[in-house]
């Protein structure tokens, strides 16, 4: 009996001892790995900083200007290029409309099928009305806006639609 228990304790001691050393060396190698990773991270961070500075150097306005002159020849935006508004874009004229007055303007058809935007600021104050408007099938939302006259530009059309609602 004594022998068995001695064997048990000796086994336990050696197992624990082995486990302890195994853990210890495991931790040590992990520590080493961590240290190496940290070192690598630092080196990487330095490299990133150097790359950032190099990027700043390579993309400095002077270089870009020189590159542009050599390959693209882009110029500054002229004032007249910026002066165009939506109003300056002419509407497409349907050839049949001009001759036949009874034919509906294609725009009217298009407007009747497209639900009008429902984000009018006045309607949001009334929840019931708002709920009605949100439904796409609601007859009110589909009601054709009455256009006072044929719009000549997109801006005018938008303002007319806004006014009719």
């Amino acid at each position: 009996m004594v022998k068995l228990s001695t064997l048990f304790w000796m086994l336990l001691v050696s197992t624990t001892g082995f486990a302890m050393f195994a853990v210890k060396y495991g931790v040590q190698s992990l520590e080493e790995e961590l240290y190496r990773t940290k070192r690598a991270t630092i080196a990487e961070e330095h490299a990133i900083r150097a790359d950032e500075a190099e990027w700043a150097y390579l993309t400095r306005p002077e270089t870009l200007d020189e590159m542009n002159r050599r390959h693209l020849s882009l110029g500054p935006i002229a004032t007249k290029q910026l002066r165009i508004t939506l109003g300056d874009i002419p509407m497409r004229v349907a050839s049949s409309v001009a001759s036949d007055a009874s034919v509906e303007h294609p725009l009217d058809n298009a407007l009747s099928t497209v639900p009008t935007p429902t984000d009018a600021p006045t309607s949001t104050e009334n929840p019931t009305e708002d709920a009605e408007l949100v439904k796409p099938s609601a007859p009110k939302a589909l009601a054709k806006p009455v256009l006072s006259r044929r719009p000549r530009s997109l801006d005018e059309l938008i303002s007319q639609v806004a006014a009719s609602r």
Partner: protein, 590 residues
């Protein structure tokens, strides 16, 4: 006892024979006591051991379960004391472009005691660094010391090459180096650093304490694109008119942020003391001199905007007042005459439009010295400007404000201020009358710092209309950038040379604001000693030199700043800029 003894003594007892237990022998007396004491001691020792083991077990549980495995390594060689942090934070522009960065820059040193074949090492090193000399390296490596610098601040590529050589005895010392990728472009603003990255000039010096130990980069109000355009156009004017130098700045009139600031000639902050192939024959001091913040100049006619604003704000003149400019004024040894002389009575708008010295002088005299001085002080023109740069120039002005001083100051002579102070005050004239501190640090979006109301909003509105007139019909017509509604004022000053004004040495400047009907940005351009050329028909005045440059600058920067061009003939623009005194009449008819 007797029986046991007998058994043990028996030589014939088999080895594994165990005698049956004898009758218990209970010792008594002192023996029993000794046994008790032993037992007690054993118990105490056992308890102590149990306690210690319990403590160890608890500690293990604490580390594993409670501490979450964050216990720091206690092994010295694995310890990294601190994460790498540059000693000085980076500087970036308002869009995040790097203007100054601290880079890890290894320096190469050698330990001659460990080097076996110095001649061979020297030959190999020269292959990596062609501008080093073999004999110099050889001399260093055979000096018998244990530490010699071979080359400071290597590039990563050079470091790699040296490592490739694999020579024992060569080591790297990690140092930090400040790098300016844009070189001269932002030189005067950013400044430069010396050893240990201590700031020596510009923002580097003034904000050294802020940059030190900071992790996030410092964001300046500068816009690199605008800076480039401004510098390029200034360089072009300086080259076209063979000028000595130039200066300029672009400022947000509603916040005081400086979007671009350039002074020519400039220097490369990467090698502040080094020679510059672009600027041969120009002294280092001249290249390092910041004409925008440090230089003080008699700016000339652009100062008339302050005279007119003063008269209008104090009510000593109205927009319809007239002053006699038909004859030059003689006072003491001075004669004040007009460059673009009309020789007649001029109204306030005309005085500004035609830049009449006589008219401005009379207007200032009518207001008086007291008011003029007080007004200029209110605009901050009589004190040293404050900005995130330590190189700032104090203004020069007469200690005793006599009548002759009143007259000359009215058209910008006899008082010297920095272009920075001038621009700051000019912003207040057009932005509704609020004077704001200029700044080089980016402000949060939509935030305008608290300013000081220095003139009434009405005067400010009148000044906008008058400055528009100068560009529309006056001396600054070449500054017009159609669509951007530029307003401004030209100024051509004679430079002081010794105790006299030098006739042929001019300082031409232009202050432009756009869009003047709703001011957003101010552009100041200045060129030092321009010489007339063929294109300018023999003129080197502001209207022919810096005014066209301002036009070009505005046309290039406005799209970048998101300023939408408008139709200048649109009724709402015209109405906003109409001068009451003319009541819609054309200026020629007036």
């Amino acid at each position: 006892m007797i029986a046991r003894q007998r058994l043990d003594d028996n030589p014939c007892r088999p080895r594994h024979f165990k005698p049956p237990p004898c009758s218990a022998t209970v010792p008594d007396g002192p023996a029993k006591q000794a046994l008790e004491a032993c037992r007690n001691r054993l118990l105490v020792t056992g308890a102590l051991f149990a306690l210690v083991f319990a403590a160890v077990a608890l500690r293990i549980i604490e580390i594993v379960a409670v501490g979450g495995g964050t216990a720091e390594s206690q092994i010295g060689r694995f310890r990294i004391v601190a994460a790498p942090m540059p000693s000085h934070a980076d500087i970036v522009d308002r869009n995040g472009n790097v203007l100054a960065a601290s880079l890890d820059s290894p320096s190469l040193y050698g330990n001659p005691k460990q080097i076996v074949d110095a001649a061979e090492v020297a030959r190999k090193l020269v292959r990596v660094f062609p501008n080093l000399r073999v004999d110099e390296i050889y001399a260093k490596l055979t000096s018998g010391k244990s530490f010699v610098w071979i080359k400071r601040h290597l590039t990563p590529a050079e470091q790699y090459d040296v490592n490739q050589l694999g020579i024992p005895g060569l080591e790297f010392e990690h140092e930090e180096r400040r790098v300016y990728p844009d070189a001269a472009l932002t030189s005067h603003v950013i400044g430069y650093t010396g050893v240990d990255n201590a700031g020596f000039a510009g923002v580097e010096r003034a904000l050294d304490g802020v940059l030190k130990g900071r992790r996030e980069p410092l964001q300046l109000s500068l816009d690199l694109r605008l800076q480039y355009i401004l510098r390029e156009e200034l360089q072009r004017v300086a080259d076209d008119f063979t000028a000595k130098g130039g200066a300029g700045l672009i400022m947000d009139v509603n916040t005081g942020e400086i979007l671009a600031m350039a002074s020519l000639p400039d220097f490369d902050p990467n090698h502040p003391g080094g020679p510059d192939p672009d600027h041969t024959g120009i002294s280092l001091a001249d290249r390092m001199f910041d004409r925008v913040t440090l230089g003080v100049y008699e700016l000339g006619s652009i100062f008339k905007i302050f005279t007119v604003a003063m008269a209008l704000d104090y009510g000593t003149a109205t927009i319809t007042s007239t002053y006699d400019a038909s004859h030059p004024i003689r006072i003491g040894r001075f004669t004040i005459s007009d460059y673009h002389g009309k020789h007649r009575v001029l109204s306030v708008p005309e005085i500004l439009m035609y830049s009449s010295n006589i008219g401005a002088a009379r207007m200032a005299v009518a207001a008086g010295a007291e008011k003029q001085r007080e007004f200029l002080a209110r605009l901050g023109l009589l004190k040293t400007p404050k900005i995130e740069i330590s190189e700032v120039g104090a203004p020069h002005y007469p200690a005793k404000w006599r009548e002759v001083n009143v007259m000359t100051i009215a058209f910008g002579h006899g008082i010297s201020v920095t272009p920075l102070s001038f621009s700051t005050a000019a912003c207040a004239l057009v932005n509704g009358g609020i004077l704001r501190q200029p700044t080089l640090v980016k402000l949060p979006m939509g935030y305008a710092p608290q300013g000081q109301q220095v003139i009434s909003t009405r005067t400010s509105e009148q000044m906008r209309r008058l400055m528009r007139l100068v560009v529309e019909h006056g001396t600054g017509t070449m500054a017009a950038a159609p669509g951007y509604v530029v307003g401004g004022k030209t100024g051509t000053a004679d430079k002081v040379s010794g105790r006299h004004y030098a006739e042929r040495k001019l300082l031409s400047s232009f202050v432009g604001v756009f869009p003047i009907n709703d001011p957003k940005y101010l552009v100041l351009t200045m060129v030092d000693e321009p010489h007339p050329n063929k294109e300018s028909h023999g003129y080197a005045t502001a209207g022919w030199t810096v005014a066209p440059a301002t036009s070009r600058i505005i046309e290039r920067i406005a799209p970048l700043l998101g300023v939408q061009p408008v139709d200048e003939s649109a009724p709402e623009v015209q109405r906003a800029l109409m001068v009451e005194s003319m009541q819609g009449k054309r200026i020629e008819a007036y």
